[in-house]
């Protein structure tokens, strides 16, 4: 059991977490998705096709002397238990984990990071074998999606200070009453401008059960000094440290009791 020096909780509200790398675009074309899937299909038997993340080029010219077709996509590869997902596009690689249902046990970072490292290794080995080159990683990302269910420690969308003591009321001086809902988006710079922590607070409904929640998304991203695996893993640890400390710092002691802070 690894020693845990960061704030830790027995029952954290995290419903989903992902680790991801963004890299300089590889010459990754449609057949590579299929070839890659055939190698991981034993572990990830289901797939979905989605639009890519970030900016992308669309090109389709069927009547040019040499037809041009460039329709970028992002493929999802899902495991049998529907709790782990790999997302691949020509310049990004994600591994997501989610709780199969809101009350299922939480899987800790210490257990997920080796899985990510293994899958990233498979991806790099594939890229190498298909002469796509070694990914030049530009950014590492760790995100936690937390669902704070209504009536579990809070009940009013217009007063978030019970959960986030630093969030204001947004009540006007004279004219405006309390808002119906509040959402917030904040970013924080890491030391030496190494990266950023982005916090998004959003009133939402969980599609799985239609329940009202505050979704608290915390994403740490930083630029690695190289694409060496040790450096990439160090960056992930750094991002994750920021996410966990940020979560602990922004949320109230009352909520920490509900989440059973150790």
């Amino acid at each position: 059991m690894p020693e845990r020096t960061l704030p830790d909780y027995d029952n954290p509200p995290a419903q989903e977490t992902w680790m991801a790398f963004a890299f300089a675009p590889l010459p990754w074309r449609v057949p590579h998705f299929g070839a890659f899937w055939s190698e991981i299909k034993g572990d990830y038997p289901a797939f979905e096709v989605h639009p890519p993340i970030g900016e992308f080029n669309l090109e389709f010219n069927a009547v040019a002397p040499e037809a041009i077709v460039n329709l970028p996509v992002r493929c999802w590869f899902k495991n049998d238990q529907s709790n782990r997902l790999i997302q691949v596009q020509n310049n990004r690689f994600f591994h997501n984990w989610r709780r199969p249902n809101p009350t299922a046990p939480y899987l800790h970072y210490d257990e997920l990071k080796p899985v990510f490292e293994r899958e990233w290794g498979r991806f790099c080995e594939f890229a190498n074998r298909y002469d796509l080159g070694a990914p030049n990683v530009l950014s590492c990302e760790v995100a936690y999606i937390n669902h704070l269910d209504r009536n579990v420690g809070w009940d009013n969308f217009s007063d978030l200070s019970h959960i986030f003591p630093s969030v204001g009321s947004f009540e006007g001086k004279n004219f405006l009453a309390k808002p119906e809902t509040i959402s917030a988006n904040a970013s924080y710079v890491m030391p030496s401008n190494e990266g950023r922590l982005q916090v998004v607070i959003q009133p939402a409904i969980r599609r799985q059960d239609g329940k009202e929640i505050i979704q608290l998304s915390i994403t740490g991203s930083c630029r690695p000094a190289s694409s060496d695996t040790n450096e990439l893993m160090r960056c992930l640890d750094s991002c994750r440290g920021w996410v966990v400390r940020g979560f602990d710092d922004l949320t109230s002691p009352e909520m920490h009791k509900i989440w059973r802070k150790k």
């Binding site: 989605h50 069927a62 009547v63 988006n185 959003q202 409904i205 599609r207 979704q215 998304s217």
Partner: protein, 151 residues
């Protein structure tokens, strides 16, 4: 005479809006409670109906059943309702709950029975009412698209 197949040509750089980006990385599906603007108010109305006691209408009306509430919330969180106007939400005497929209000459009632079963009733003003059992989200979506005049 045969016509040549015409294929569109398109080029361009594209990206979704920055504020849509974070949710696209995530797997767990959520819907913003802030869009459409009436959604929070409707959720509050549903919560208020949850508290109704037996005989709420003084004609022996049953309390709104948990299964009906759950199903209605599921519908609202999974259907594309962005273009819909504010619905009228009302309890039904048999423990169900209903949503009603009128858009121009079209009327739509979505009724969730106490058992969680869903019915839709489409009525063109001056025309016939068409009742349907709704078994899937796509069937419910078709009713919404109909009242908006999309189909």
């Amino acid at each position: 005479m045969a016509h040549a197949l015409r294929l569109p040509n398109f080029f361009g750089r594209n990206a979704l809006r920055q504020d849509q980006e974070p949710n696209r990385r995530q797997w767990y599906g959520v819907k913003s409670l802030q869009s459409p603007a009436w959604l929070k108010e409707t959720y509050d109305r549903i919560a208020a109906l949850e508290a109704l006691k037996e005989n709420w209408d003084s004609y022996g009306g049953l309390p709104v059943a948990d299964d009906a509430i759950s199903m209605l919330r599921m519908l609202l969180s999974n259907l594309d309702i962005e273009d819909m106007p504010t619905p009228h939400v009302a309890p039904l005497p048999d423990g169900g709950i209903g949503l009603h929209w009128r858009v121009g000459a079209r009327d739509l009632e979505i009724e969730v029975e106490a058992t969680g079963e869903v019915l839709s009733l489409q009525t063109d003003v001056g025309g016939e009412s068409i009742p349907r059992n709704v078994h899937t989200l796509s069937e419910a979506q078709k009713s919404l698209d109909w009242v908006l005049g999309k189909i």
